[in-house]
Protein backbone atom coordinates (compact mmCIF):
# COMPACT_ATOMS: atom_id res chain seq x y z
CA UNK A 1 0.00 0.00 0.00
CA UNK A 2 2.76 2.37 1.04
CA UNK A 3 4.84 1.53 -2.06
CA UNK A 4 1.80 2.29 -4.27
CA UNK A 5 1.46 5.73 -2.64
CA UNK A 6 5.15 6.30 -3.13
CA UNK A 7 4.94 5.38 -6.82
CA UNK A 8 1.92 7.65 -7.29
CA UNK A 9 3.73 10.51 -5.57
CA UNK A 10 6.80 10.01 -7.74
CA UNK A 11 4.62 9.94 -10.86
CA UNK A 12 2.93 13.20 -9.83
CA UNK A 13 6.30 14.84 -9.19
CA UNK A 14 7.57 13.71 -12.59
CA UNK A 15 4.44 14.97 -14.34
CA UNK A 16 4.68 18.30 -12.56
CA UNK A 17 8.35 18.68 -13.42
CA UNK A 18 7.68 17.84 -17.09
CA UNK A 19 4.84 20.34 -17.28
CA UNK A 20 7.01 23.00 -15.67
CA UNK A 21 9.83 22.35 -18.18
CA UNK A 22 7.43 22.52 -21.10
CA UNK A 23 6.00 25.86 -19.97
CA UNK A 24 9.48 27.18 -19.26
CA UNK A 25 10.63 26.22 -22.77
CA UNK A 26 7.55 27.79 -24.38
CA UNK A 27 7.93 30.93 -22.31
CA UNK A 28 11.55 31.16 -23.34
CA UNK A 29 10.61 30.70 -27.02
CA UNK A 30 7.86 33.33 -26.87
CA UNK A 31 10.25 35.75 -25.30
CA UNK A 32 12.86 35.23 -28.02
CA UNK A 33 13.60 38.51 -29.69
CA UNK A 34 16.15 39.53 -32.25
CA UNK A 35 18.25 42.45 -31.15
CA UNK A 36 20.81 44.53 -32.97
CA UNK A 37 23.46 42.90 -30.81
CA UNK A 38 22.50 39.47 -32.19
CA UNK A 39 23.31 40.41 -35.77
CA UNK A 40 26.06 42.94 -35.37
CA UNK A 41 28.64 40.18 -35.48
CA UNK A 42 27.22 38.52 -38.64
CA UNK A 43 29.77 38.88 -41.38
CA UNK A 44 30.07 37.80 -44.99
CA UNK A 45 33.10 36.94 -47.09
CA UNK A 46 35.74 39.62 -47.41
CA UNK A 47 36.25 41.58 -50.61
CA UNK A 48 39.76 40.16 -50.87
CA UNK A 49 38.47 36.61 -50.60
CA UNK A 50 35.83 37.22 -53.27
CA UNK A 51 38.33 38.94 -55.55
CA UNK A 52 40.83 36.12 -55.21
CA UNK A 53 38.52 33.14 -55.67
CA UNK A 54 35.57 34.41 -57.64
CA UNK A 55 32.26 32.67 -56.97
CA UNK A 56 31.72 30.09 -59.66
CA UNK A 57 29.53 28.01 -57.37
CA UNK A 58 27.25 30.90 -56.41
CA UNK A 59 28.03 30.21 -52.76
CA UNK A 60 28.48 33.68 -51.33
CA UNK A 61 27.27 36.18 -53.90
CA UNK A 62 24.38 37.89 -52.20
CA UNK A 63 25.11 37.93 -48.47
CA UNK A 64 24.95 40.12 -45.40
CA UNK A 65 27.34 42.57 -47.02
CA UNK A 66 24.64 43.38 -49.56
CA UNK A 67 22.10 44.54 -46.99
CA UNK A 68 21.86 48.30 -47.08
CA UNK A 69 22.96 49.84 -43.78
CA UNK A 70 21.30 53.08 -42.76
CA UNK A 71 23.97 54.22 -40.30
CA UNK A 72 27.55 53.04 -40.83
CA UNK A 73 28.44 53.91 -37.24
CA UNK A 74 25.79 51.56 -35.85
CA UNK A 75 26.46 48.81 -38.35
CA UNK A 76 23.80 46.29 -39.32
CA UNK A 77 20.59 46.60 -37.32
CA UNK A 78 17.29 44.74 -37.20
CA UNK A 79 15.63 47.79 -38.76
CA UNK A 80 18.03 47.50 -41.72
CA UNK A 81 17.01 43.87 -42.18
CA UNK A 82 13.29 44.67 -41.97
CA UNK A 83 13.62 47.46 -44.52
CA UNK A 84 15.55 45.19 -46.84
CA UNK A 85 12.86 42.47 -46.59
CA UNK A 86 10.12 45.00 -47.36
CA UNK A 87 12.01 46.43 -50.30
CA UNK A 88 12.71 42.95 -51.62
CA UNK A 89 8.97 42.17 -51.60
CA UNK A 90 8.14 45.33 -53.52
CA UNK A 91 11.09 44.76 -55.85
CA UNK A 92 9.81 41.28 -56.71
CA UNK A 93 6.37 42.75 -57.42
CA UNK A 94 7.77 45.64 -59.48
CA UNK A 95 9.87 43.30 -61.61
CA UNK A 96 7.00 40.86 -62.03
CA UNK A 97 4.53 43.57 -63.03
CA UNK A 98 6.98 45.26 -65.39
CA UNK A 99 7.99 42.04 -67.16
CA UNK A 100 4.34 41.07 -67.53
CA UNK A 101 3.68 44.56 -68.90
CA UNK A 102 6.48 44.12 -71.43
CA UNK A 103 4.90 40.82 -72.49
CA UNK A 104 1.53 42.50 -72.94
CA UNK A 105 3.22 45.17 -75.03
CA UNK A 106 4.60 42.35 -77.19
CA UNK A 107 1.01 41.34 -77.93
CA UNK A 108 0.90 44.32 -80.30
CA UNK A 109 2.88 42.51 -83.03
CA UNK A 110 0.62 39.52 -82.41
CA UNK A 111 -2.48 41.58 -83.10
CA UNK A 112 -0.80 43.22 -86.08
CA UNK A 113 0.11 39.88 -87.65
CA UNK A 114 -3.30 38.28 -87.04
CA UNK A 115 -5.18 41.24 -88.47
CA UNK A 116 -2.86 41.76 -91.41
CA UNK A 117 -2.88 38.08 -92.31
CA UNK A 118 -6.68 38.04 -92.31
CA UNK A 119 -7.05 40.96 -94.72
CA UNK A 120 -6.11 41.24 -98.40
CA UNK A 121 -2.55 42.02 -99.43
CA UNK A 122 -3.57 45.33 -100.99
CA UNK A 123 -4.38 46.71 -97.52
CA UNK A 124 -1.44 45.23 -95.60
CA UNK A 125 0.50 48.47 -95.07
CA UNK A 126 -2.64 50.27 -93.93
CA UNK A 127 -3.60 47.57 -91.42
CA UNK A 128 -0.05 47.21 -90.12
CA UNK A 129 0.24 50.96 -89.66
CA UNK A 130 -3.01 51.15 -87.73
CA UNK A 131 -1.76 48.43 -85.39
CA UNK A 132 1.56 50.22 -85.11
CA UNK A 133 0.17 53.65 -84.42
CA UNK A 134 -2.31 52.64 -81.72
CA UNK A 135 0.80 52.35 -79.58
CA UNK A 136 1.89 55.94 -80.10
CA UNK A 137 -1.52 57.58 -80.28
CA UNK A 138 -3.07 55.57 -77.48
CA UNK A 139 -0.09 55.99 -75.19
CA UNK A 140 -0.05 59.75 -75.61
CA UNK A 141 -3.77 60.07 -74.92
CA UNK A 142 -3.49 57.81 -71.91
CA UNK A 143 -0.51 59.76 -70.57
CA UNK A 144 -2.29 63.11 -70.91
CA UNK A 145 -5.52 62.20 -69.13
CA UNK A 146 -6.53 58.56 -69.56
CA UNK A 147 -4.48 57.19 -66.69
CA UNK A 148 -5.67 59.91 -64.32
CA UNK A 149 -9.31 59.31 -65.19
CA UNK A 150 -8.91 55.56 -64.73
CA UNK A 151 -6.61 55.20 -61.76
CA UNK A 152 -6.50 58.67 -60.18
CA UNK A 153 -8.63 57.55 -57.27
CA UNK A 154 -7.66 53.90 -57.04
CA UNK A 155 -6.24 54.27 -53.54
CA UNK A 156 -3.63 52.06 -51.89
CA UNK A 157 -2.31 49.03 -53.79
CA UNK A 158 -0.27 47.11 -51.25
CA UNK A 159 1.59 44.97 -53.79
CA UNK A 160 3.14 48.04 -55.40
CA UNK A 161 4.11 49.79 -52.21
CA UNK A 162 1.01 51.88 -51.71
CA UNK A 163 0.33 54.15 -54.72
CA UNK A 164 -0.74 56.71 -52.14
CA UNK A 165 -0.58 59.67 -54.55
CA UNK A 166 -3.56 58.27 -56.50
CA UNK A 167 -6.12 59.25 -53.90
CA UNK A 168 -8.67 61.51 -55.53
CA UNK A 169 -11.91 60.12 -57.01
CA UNK A 170 -14.82 62.27 -58.19
CA UNK A 171 -17.85 60.88 -56.39
CA UNK A 172 -21.52 61.82 -56.66
CA UNK A 173 -24.17 60.75 -54.17
CA UNK A 174 -27.27 59.26 -55.77
CA UNK A 175 -30.12 57.79 -53.72
CA UNK A 176 -27.91 57.80 -50.67
CA UNK A 177 -25.06 55.83 -52.24
CA UNK A 178 -21.66 57.12 -53.36
CA UNK A 179 -20.94 56.61 -57.07
CA UNK A 180 -17.30 57.00 -58.04
CA UNK A 181 -17.19 58.32 -61.59
CA UNK A 182 -13.59 59.20 -62.47
CA UNK A 183 -10.17 59.78 -60.97
CA UNK A 184 -8.60 63.21 -60.63
CA UNK A 185 -4.91 62.59 -59.88
CA UNK A 186 -2.12 61.64 -62.27
CA UNK A 187 -2.66 63.94 -65.26
CA UNK A 188 0.60 64.03 -67.27
CA UNK A 189 2.09 61.89 -64.49
CA UNK A 190 3.02 65.17 -62.87
CA UNK A 191 3.25 66.32 -59.27
CA UNK A 192 3.06 63.58 -56.68
CA UNK A 193 2.27 61.05 -59.44
CA UNK A 194 5.98 61.15 -60.25
CA UNK A 195 6.30 58.12 -57.99
CA UNK A 196 8.01 54.80 -58.69
CA UNK A 197 4.96 52.70 -57.82
CA UNK A 198 2.60 54.91 -59.82
CA UNK A 199 4.86 54.67 -62.85
CA UNK A 200 4.90 50.86 -62.69
CA UNK A 201 1.12 50.93 -62.51
CA UNK A 202 1.00 53.35 -65.46
CA UNK A 203 3.07 51.10 -67.67
CA UNK A 204 0.99 48.04 -66.88
CA UNK A 205 -2.34 49.82 -67.35
CA UNK A 206 -1.15 51.58 -70.49
CA UNK A 207 -0.42 48.36 -72.38
CA UNK A 208 -3.88 47.10 -71.43
CA UNK A 209 -5.46 50.21 -72.91
CA UNK A 210 -3.33 49.68 -75.99
CA UNK A 211 -4.83 46.23 -76.41
CA UNK A 212 -8.31 47.72 -76.39
CA UNK A 213 -7.54 50.24 -79.09
CA UNK A 214 -5.96 47.65 -81.35
CA UNK A 215 -9.10 45.49 -81.31
CA UNK A 216 -11.03 48.16 -83.21
CA UNK A 217 -8.57 48.26 -86.11
CA UNK A 218 -9.43 44.66 -86.99
CA UNK A 219 -13.16 45.13 -87.40
CA UNK A 220 -12.67 48.35 -89.39
CA UNK A 221 -9.88 47.08 -91.62
CA UNK A 222 -9.84 47.60 -95.38
CA UNK A 223 -12.14 50.63 -95.41
CA UNK A 224 -11.21 52.97 -92.53
CA UNK A 225 -9.78 56.37 -93.34
CA UNK A 226 -6.42 56.64 -91.55
CA UNK A 227 -7.09 60.14 -90.24
CA UNK A 228 -10.41 59.01 -88.78
CA UNK A 229 -8.65 56.06 -87.15
CA UNK A 230 -6.20 58.45 -85.46
CA UNK A 231 -8.91 60.66 -83.98
CA UNK A 232 -11.09 57.72 -82.98
CA UNK A 233 -8.20 55.99 -81.20
CA UNK A 234 -7.30 59.08 -79.22
CA UNK A 235 -10.87 59.37 -77.92
CA UNK A 236 -10.94 55.72 -76.93
CA UNK A 237 -7.60 55.90 -75.12
CA UNK A 238 -8.23 59.23 -73.45
CA UNK A 239 -11.84 58.97 -72.26
CA UNK A 240 -13.96 55.91 -73.09
CA UNK A 241 -11.64 53.11 -71.97
CA UNK A 242 -10.43 54.94 -68.85
CA UNK A 243 -13.99 55.66 -67.71
CA UNK A 244 -15.01 52.03 -67.63
CA UNK A 245 -11.57 51.15 -66.29
CA UNK A 246 -12.21 53.49 -63.38
CA UNK A 247 -15.62 52.05 -62.66
CA UNK A 248 -14.21 48.51 -62.60
CA UNK A 249 -10.62 48.87 -61.37
CA UNK A 250 -10.18 52.40 -60.06
CA UNK A 251 -12.59 52.28 -57.10
CA UNK A 252 -15.46 53.46 -59.29
CA UNK A 253 -19.11 52.61 -58.74
CA UNK A 254 -19.13 49.16 -60.34
CA UNK A 255 -16.36 47.92 -58.08
CA UNK A 256 -18.31 49.22 -55.06
CA UNK A 257 -21.54 47.32 -55.82
CA UNK A 258 -20.55 44.85 -53.12
CA UNK A 259 -20.01 47.50 -50.46
CA UNK A 260 -23.01 49.63 -51.42
CA UNK A 261 -25.61 47.04 -52.44
CA UNK A 262 -24.33 43.79 -50.96
CA UNK A 263 -23.73 42.27 -54.39
CA UNK A 264 -20.92 39.81 -53.71
CA UNK A 265 -17.58 41.56 -54.14
CA UNK A 266 -18.93 44.11 -56.59
CA UNK A 267 -18.11 43.88 -60.28
CA UNK A 268 -15.06 41.59 -60.57
CA UNK A 269 -12.90 41.53 -63.66
CA UNK A 270 -9.53 40.04 -62.81
CA UNK A 271 -7.58 40.94 -65.95
CA UNK A 272 -10.08 42.62 -68.22
CA UNK A 273 -12.53 40.47 -70.21
CA UNK A 274 -14.88 43.40 -69.74
CA UNK A 275 -12.55 46.35 -69.21
CA UNK A 276 -10.19 45.54 -72.08
CA UNK A 277 -11.86 43.12 -74.48
CA UNK A 278 -15.56 43.91 -74.26
CA UNK A 279 -14.83 47.66 -74.38
CA UNK A 280 -12.67 47.08 -77.47
CA UNK A 281 -15.17 44.68 -79.03
CA UNK A 282 -18.16 46.97 -78.49
CA UNK A 283 -16.25 49.97 -79.83
CA UNK A 284 -15.37 47.79 -82.81
CA UNK A 285 -19.08 47.04 -83.23
CA UNK A 286 -19.99 50.72 -83.13
CA UNK A 287 -17.30 51.61 -85.67
CA UNK A 288 -18.11 48.72 -88.00
CA UNK A 289 -21.75 49.71 -87.93
CA UNK A 290 -20.97 53.32 -88.82
CA UNK A 291 -18.45 52.33 -91.49
CA UNK A 292 -20.65 49.74 -93.14
CA UNK A 293 -19.40 46.60 -94.88
CA UNK A 294 -16.59 46.40 -97.40
CA UNK A 295 -17.50 46.55 -101.06
CA UNK A 296 -18.18 42.99 -102.16
CA UNK A 297 -18.86 41.58 -98.71
CA UNK A 298 -22.60 41.31 -99.32
CA UNK A 299 -24.51 40.59 -102.51
CA UNK A 300 -27.54 42.64 -103.50
CA UNK A 301 -29.82 40.06 -101.88
CA UNK A 302 -27.90 40.41 -98.62
CA UNK A 303 -26.09 37.08 -98.69
CA UNK A 304 -22.51 37.31 -97.39
CA UNK A 305 -19.37 36.48 -99.35
CA UNK A 306 -16.23 35.14 -97.75
CA UNK A 307 -13.23 37.44 -98.31
CA UNK A 308 -10.21 35.30 -97.43
CA UNK A 309 -7.12 36.80 -95.88
CA UNK A 310 -3.81 36.81 -97.72
CA UNK A 311 -1.47 34.99 -95.33
CA UNK A 312 -2.43 32.30 -92.85
CA UNK A 313 1.20 32.01 -91.74
CA UNK A 314 1.01 35.52 -90.34
CA UNK A 315 -2.29 34.69 -88.66
CA UNK A 316 -0.95 31.56 -86.94
CA UNK A 317 2.28 33.21 -85.87
CA UNK A 318 0.40 36.23 -84.54
CA UNK A 319 -1.95 33.99 -82.61
CA UNK A 320 0.92 32.20 -80.89
CA UNK A 321 2.53 35.53 -80.03
CA UNK A 322 -0.77 36.62 -78.50
CA UNK A 323 -1.10 33.38 -76.54
CA UNK A 324 2.41 33.94 -75.16
CA UNK A 325 1.64 37.55 -74.29
CA UNK A 326 -1.49 36.47 -72.45
CA UNK A 327 0.77 34.93 -69.79
CA UNK A 328 1.69 38.51 -68.98
CA UNK A 329 -1.85 39.74 -69.32
CA UNK A 330 -3.56 37.45 -66.80
CA UNK A 331 -0.92 36.39 -64.26
CA UNK A 332 0.49 39.92 -64.31
CA UNK A 333 -2.84 41.24 -63.10
CA UNK A 334 -1.97 40.05 -59.59
CA UNK A 335 0.33 43.12 -59.71
CA UNK A 336 2.89 41.09 -57.81
CA UNK A 337 4.38 37.71 -57.07
CA UNK A 338 4.94 38.18 -53.35
CA UNK A 339 2.34 38.77 -50.68
CA UNK A 340 -1.46 39.18 -50.64
CA UNK A 341 -2.21 35.85 -52.27
CA UNK A 342 -0.12 36.68 -55.32
CA UNK A 343 1.25 33.14 -55.39
CA UNK A 344 -1.94 32.26 -57.27
CA UNK A 345 -0.02 33.31 -60.37
CA UNK A 346 0.50 29.61 -61.14
CA UNK A 347 -3.23 28.96 -61.01
CA UNK A 348 -3.95 32.01 -63.16
CA UNK A 349 -1.39 30.92 -65.77
CA UNK A 350 -2.71 27.36 -65.95
CA UNK A 351 -6.31 28.59 -66.26
CA UNK A 352 -5.21 30.85 -69.10
CA UNK A 353 -3.48 28.00 -70.89
CA UNK A 354 -6.38 25.55 -70.43
CA UNK A 355 -9.11 27.91 -71.62
CA UNK A 356 -7.20 28.92 -74.75
CA UNK A 357 -6.44 25.34 -75.72
CA UNK A 358 -9.94 23.97 -75.13
CA UNK A 359 -11.48 26.89 -77.02
CA UNK A 360 -9.33 26.27 -80.09
CA UNK A 361 -10.29 22.60 -79.88
CA UNK A 362 -14.03 23.26 -79.60
CA UNK A 363 -13.95 25.85 -82.41
CA UNK A 364 -12.06 23.41 -84.62
CA UNK A 365 -14.54 20.61 -83.89
CA UNK A 366 -17.51 22.91 -84.50
CA UNK A 367 -16.24 24.02 -87.89
CA UNK A 368 -15.18 20.51 -88.86
CA UNK A 369 -18.59 19.07 -88.02
CA UNK A 370 -20.53 21.92 -89.60
CA UNK A 371 -18.54 22.52 -92.77
CA UNK A 372 -16.57 19.30 -93.20
CA UNK A 373 -13.11 20.92 -92.89
CA UNK A 374 -11.03 22.07 -89.92
CA UNK A 375 -10.98 25.82 -90.53
CA UNK A 376 -7.61 27.36 -89.64
CA UNK A 377 -8.74 30.94 -89.12
CA UNK A 378 -11.57 29.86 -86.85
CA UNK A 379 -9.24 27.64 -84.83
CA UNK A 380 -7.11 30.74 -84.31
CA UNK A 381 -10.13 32.82 -83.39
CA UNK A 382 -11.21 30.01 -81.08
CA UNK A 383 -7.96 30.12 -79.17
CA UNK A 384 -8.17 33.88 -78.86
CA UNK A 385 -11.81 33.66 -77.77
CA UNK A 386 -10.86 31.24 -74.99
CA UNK A 387 -8.11 33.55 -73.83
CA UNK A 388 -10.47 36.52 -73.86
CA UNK A 389 -13.15 34.62 -71.95
CA UNK A 390 -10.80 33.41 -69.20
CA UNK A 391 -9.27 36.86 -68.70
CA UNK A 392 -11.85 38.02 -66.14
CA UNK A 393 -12.31 34.72 -64.30
CA UNK A 394 -8.67 33.57 -64.43
CA UNK A 395 -7.93 34.70 -60.88
CA UNK A 396 -11.14 33.38 -59.35
CA UNK A 397 -11.86 29.95 -60.83
CA UNK A 398 -10.40 26.44 -60.71
CA UNK A 399 -8.88 24.60 -63.70
CA UNK A 400 -12.04 22.59 -64.45
CA UNK A 401 -14.09 25.78 -64.71
CA UNK A 402 -11.40 27.21 -67.00
CA UNK A 403 -11.87 24.23 -69.32
CA UNK A 404 -15.65 24.73 -69.39
CA UNK A 405 -15.33 28.49 -69.96
CA UNK A 406 -12.85 27.94 -72.78
CA UNK A 407 -14.90 25.21 -74.40
CA UNK A 408 -17.98 27.44 -74.47
CA UNK A 409 -15.96 30.36 -75.81
CA UNK A 410 -14.82 28.31 -78.80
CA UNK A 411 -18.43 27.54 -79.71
CA UNK A 412 -19.60 31.10 -79.04
CA UNK A 413 -17.06 32.63 -81.39
CA UNK A 414 -18.13 30.40 -84.28
CA UNK A 415 -21.82 31.14 -83.67
CA UNK A 416 -21.13 34.86 -83.31
CA UNK A 417 -19.16 35.11 -86.57
CA UNK A 418 -22.05 33.47 -88.41
CA UNK A 419 -24.58 35.64 -86.60
CA UNK A 420 -22.90 38.96 -87.45
CA UNK A 421 -22.51 37.92 -91.09
CA UNK A 422 -26.06 36.72 -91.58
CA UNK A 423 -28.42 38.59 -89.24
CA UNK A 424 -27.30 42.20 -88.64
CA UNK A 425 -24.96 41.99 -91.68
CA UNK A 426 -22.08 43.70 -89.93
CA UNK A 427 -18.77 43.22 -91.71
CA UNK A 428 -15.98 42.29 -89.31
CA UNK A 429 -12.97 41.19 -91.42
CA UNK A 430 -11.06 39.54 -88.56
CA UNK A 431 -13.88 38.53 -86.22
CA UNK A 432 -12.87 41.06 -83.56
CA UNK A 433 -16.43 41.70 -82.39
CA UNK A 434 -17.05 37.98 -81.95
CA UNK A 435 -13.71 37.24 -80.30
CA UNK A 436 -13.44 40.25 -78.00
CA UNK A 437 -16.95 41.64 -77.68
CA UNK A 438 -18.99 38.47 -77.35
CA UNK A 439 -16.44 36.48 -75.40
CA UNK A 440 -15.43 39.45 -73.29
CA UNK A 441 -19.03 39.59 -72.09
CA UNK A 442 -19.06 35.80 -71.64
CA UNK A 443 -15.95 36.10 -69.47
CA UNK A 444 -17.59 38.73 -67.26
CA UNK A 445 -20.67 36.53 -66.77
CA UNK A 446 -18.48 33.47 -66.15
CA UNK A 447 -17.04 35.11 -63.02
CA UNK A 448 -20.56 35.37 -61.65
CA UNK A 449 -21.11 31.67 -62.31
CA UNK A 450 -17.82 29.84 -61.71
CA UNK A 451 -15.81 31.84 -59.12
CA UNK A 452 -15.12 29.28 -56.41
CA UNK A 453 -14.32 31.48 -53.41
CA UNK A 454 -10.84 29.96 -52.96
CA UNK A 455 -8.89 33.02 -54.04
CA UNK A 456 -7.77 35.31 -51.26
CA UNK A 457 -5.85 38.31 -52.47
CA UNK A 458 -4.88 39.83 -49.15
CA UNK A 459 -8.14 38.81 -47.48
CA UNK A 460 -10.57 40.91 -49.51
CA UNK A 461 -11.50 42.03 -53.01
CA UNK A 462 -13.08 45.40 -53.74
CA UNK A 463 -13.16 46.07 -49.98
CA UNK A 464 -15.36 43.01 -49.31
CA UNK A 465 -13.78 40.34 -47.10
CA UNK A 466 -13.32 36.75 -48.29
CA UNK A 467 -13.00 35.10 -51.69
CA UNK A 468 -15.16 35.81 -54.73
CA UNK A 469 -17.98 33.24 -55.15
CA UNK A 470 -20.22 32.84 -58.15
CA UNK A 471 -23.76 31.49 -58.45
CA UNK A 472 -22.64 27.84 -58.58
CA UNK A 473 -20.84 28.32 -55.26
CA UNK A 474 -23.71 30.02 -53.51
CA UNK A 475 -23.57 33.78 -54.21
CA UNK A 476 -26.25 35.00 -56.61
CA UNK A 477 -25.34 38.58 -55.72
CA UNK A 478 -22.02 38.20 -57.55
CA UNK A 479 -23.88 37.25 -60.73
CA UNK A 480 -26.05 40.36 -60.36
CA UNK A 481 -22.93 42.52 -60.07
CA UNK A 482 -21.48 40.93 -63.20
CA UNK A 483 -24.74 41.42 -65.13
CA UNK A 484 -24.85 45.08 -64.10
CA UNK A 485 -21.35 45.29 -65.56
CA UNK A 486 -22.54 43.74 -68.83
CA UNK A 487 -25.51 46.13 -68.94
CA UNK A 488 -23.08 49.02 -68.43
CA UNK A 489 -20.83 47.79 -71.21
CA UNK A 490 -23.74 47.52 -73.64
CA UNK A 491 -25.68 50.54 -72.43
CA UNK A 492 -23.02 53.10 -71.61
CA UNK A 493 -19.71 52.05 -73.17
CA UNK A 494 -21.28 51.20 -76.52
CA UNK A 495 -23.22 54.47 -76.46
CA UNK A 496 -20.12 56.54 -75.69
CA UNK A 497 -18.18 54.78 -78.43
CA UNK A 498 -21.00 55.23 -80.91
CA UNK A 499 -21.46 58.92 -80.15
CA UNK A 500 -17.72 59.61 -80.35
CA UNK A 501 -17.31 57.79 -83.66
CA UNK A 502 -20.46 59.37 -85.03
CA UNK A 503 -18.90 62.75 -84.26
CA UNK A 504 -15.69 61.65 -85.97
CA UNK A 505 -17.75 60.55 -88.95
CA UNK A 506 -19.42 63.97 -89.18
CA UNK A 507 -16.21 65.98 -88.73
CA UNK A 508 -13.51 63.83 -90.36
CA UNK A 509 -15.45 61.20 -92.29
CA UNK A 510 -14.88 57.58 -91.30
CA UNK A 511 -14.94 55.76 -94.59
CA UNK A 512 -12.41 56.08 -97.36
CA UNK A 513 -13.37 56.67 -100.98
CA UNK A 514 -14.82 53.60 -102.79
CA UNK A 515 -12.13 53.83 -105.48
CA UNK A 516 -9.44 53.79 -102.82
CA UNK A 517 -11.09 50.79 -101.22
CA UNK A 518 -11.14 48.91 -104.51
CA UNK A 519 -7.54 49.83 -105.25
CA UNK A 520 -6.42 48.83 -101.78
CA UNK A 521 -5.65 51.38 -99.09
CA UNK A 522 -1.87 51.04 -99.16
CA UNK A 523 -1.29 53.62 -101.87
CA UNK A 524 -4.27 55.96 -101.44
CA UNK A 525 -4.07 56.16 -97.66
CA UNK A 526 -0.44 55.36 -96.82
CA UNK A 527 1.43 56.25 -100.00
CA UNK A 528 3.35 52.97 -100.22
CA UNK A 529 2.62 49.34 -100.95
CA UNK A 530 3.41 46.77 -98.27
CA UNK A 531 4.53 44.28 -100.94
CA UNK A 532 5.88 46.44 -103.81
CA UNK A 533 7.43 43.50 -105.67
CA UNK A 534 4.29 41.37 -105.60
CA UNK A 535 1.82 41.19 -108.46
CA UNK A 536 -1.35 42.27 -106.68
CA UNK A 537 -4.77 41.60 -108.13
CA UNK A 538 -5.66 45.24 -107.73
CA UNK A 539 -3.32 46.83 -110.26
CA UNK A 540 -6.16 47.57 -112.65
CA UNK A 541 -8.01 49.32 -109.82
CA UNK A 542 -4.90 51.21 -108.82
CA UNK A 543 -4.50 52.59 -112.31
CA UNK A 544 -8.06 53.80 -112.25
CA UNK A 545 -7.46 55.82 -109.09
CA UNK A 546 -4.59 57.89 -110.48
CA UNK A 547 -6.88 60.66 -111.55
CA UNK A 548 -9.26 60.44 -108.61
CA UNK A 549 -9.03 62.62 -105.58
CA UNK A 550 -8.35 59.97 -102.94
CA UNK A 551 -5.28 61.48 -101.38
CA UNK A 552 -2.70 59.38 -103.20
CA UNK A 553 0.28 60.86 -104.98
CA UNK A 554 -0.33 59.87 -108.60
CA UNK A 555 3.38 59.37 -109.23
CA UNK A 556 3.42 56.43 -106.85
CA UNK A 557 1.10 54.28 -108.94
Amino acid sequence: MRSRKLKASLLLVLLGFSTFMCFATLANAEGLTLNDSDIISVSGPSKEETAAKGDAGAEFTGNVNDVTIADANKGLTVADLANQVGQNKIAINFVWTLICGFMVMFMQPGFALVETGLIRAKNANHTMMMNFMVYGLGLFAYYVCGFAIQMGGCGPVANLGGLYPLNSEYVVNLFGKPWGLFGMKGFFLAGSSYDVGVLVMFLFQMVFMDTTTTIVTGSCAERWKFSAFCVSTIGLGAIIYPLFGNWAWGCGWLSQLGVNFGLGHGYCDFAGSGVVHAVGGLTALACAMILGPRIGKFNRNGTPNAIPGHDLVLVMLGCFILAFGWFGFNPGSTLGASGNGALRIGSVAVNTMLAGCTASFSALLYMWMRYGKPDASMAVNGLLAGLVAITAPSGFVNPFAAVVIGWMAGIFVCLAVEFFDRVPKIDDPVGAISVHGVNGIWGVIAVGLFADGRSNYGGSWNSVAGGVKGLFYGDAGQLVAQLVGVATLLGVVFTLSFLWNWLVDVVVGQRCHPKAELAGLDIPEMGALCYPDFQLKTQEYAASTQSSNVGAPASKF
Binding site: P293, F298, V423, G491, V492, F494, T495
Partner: protein, 60 residues
Protein backbone atom coordinates in the same frame (compact mmCIF):
# COMPACT_ATOMS: atom_id res chain seq x y z
CA UNK B 1 -33.43 57.36 -85.71
CA UNK B 2 -29.90 57.27 -84.37
CA UNK B 3 -30.86 59.40 -81.38
CA UNK B 4 -33.77 57.08 -80.66
CA UNK B 5 -31.40 54.12 -80.87
CA UNK B 6 -29.02 55.71 -78.40
CA UNK B 7 -31.87 56.49 -76.00
CA UNK B 8 -33.15 52.90 -76.17
CA UNK B 9 -29.65 51.56 -75.48
CA UNK B 10 -29.21 53.88 -72.50
CA UNK B 11 -32.71 52.95 -71.34
CA UNK B 12 -31.63 49.33 -71.14
CA UNK B 13 -28.82 50.28 -68.79
CA UNK B 14 -31.21 52.35 -66.68
CA UNK B 15 -33.54 49.35 -66.33
CA UNK B 16 -30.69 47.12 -65.16
CA UNK B 17 -29.46 49.65 -62.59
CA UNK B 18 -32.94 50.54 -61.36
CA UNK B 19 -33.27 46.95 -60.13
CA UNK B 20 -30.62 47.73 -57.53
CA UNK B 21 -32.87 50.33 -55.93
CA UNK B 22 -36.30 48.80 -56.44
CA UNK B 23 -35.73 45.42 -54.83
CA UNK B 24 -33.35 43.61 -52.55
CA UNK B 25 -34.09 40.20 -54.07
CA UNK B 26 -31.19 38.99 -56.18
CA UNK B 27 -33.48 36.84 -58.33
CA UNK B 28 -35.56 39.85 -59.30
CA UNK B 29 -32.40 41.92 -59.81
CA UNK B 30 -31.17 39.29 -62.26
CA UNK B 31 -34.45 39.64 -64.17
CA UNK B 32 -34.04 43.43 -64.23
CA UNK B 33 -30.50 43.02 -65.57
CA UNK B 34 -31.52 40.53 -68.26
CA UNK B 35 -34.42 42.78 -69.26
CA UNK B 36 -32.11 45.79 -69.46
CA UNK B 37 -29.52 43.91 -71.49
CA UNK B 38 -32.23 42.76 -73.91
CA UNK B 39 -33.47 46.32 -74.36
CA UNK B 40 -29.93 47.56 -75.03
CA UNK B 41 -29.35 44.79 -77.56
CA UNK B 42 -32.60 45.72 -79.26
CA UNK B 43 -31.43 49.32 -79.40
CA UNK B 44 -28.14 48.27 -81.00
CA UNK B 45 -29.35 45.70 -83.51
CA UNK B 46 -33.03 46.56 -83.85
CA UNK B 47 -32.81 50.32 -84.09
CA UNK B 48 -29.31 51.63 -84.76
CA UNK B 49 -28.20 48.89 -87.08
CA UNK B 50 -31.46 49.07 -89.02
CA UNK B 51 -30.72 52.70 -89.75
CA UNK B 52 -27.33 51.83 -91.21
CA UNK B 53 -28.60 48.70 -92.99
CA UNK B 54 -31.14 50.81 -94.84
CA UNK B 55 -28.24 52.82 -96.28
CA UNK B 56 -25.86 49.90 -96.79
CA UNK B 57 -23.43 50.13 -99.67
CA UNK B 58 -24.51 46.76 -101.10
CA UNK B 59 -28.10 47.96 -101.47
CA UNK B 60 -27.10 50.80 -103.78
Amino acid sequence: MRIIGVLVILGGWAIAVSGLFLTSSNSIRILFCLGGISVSLFGIFGVLNQYYLARAIWKK
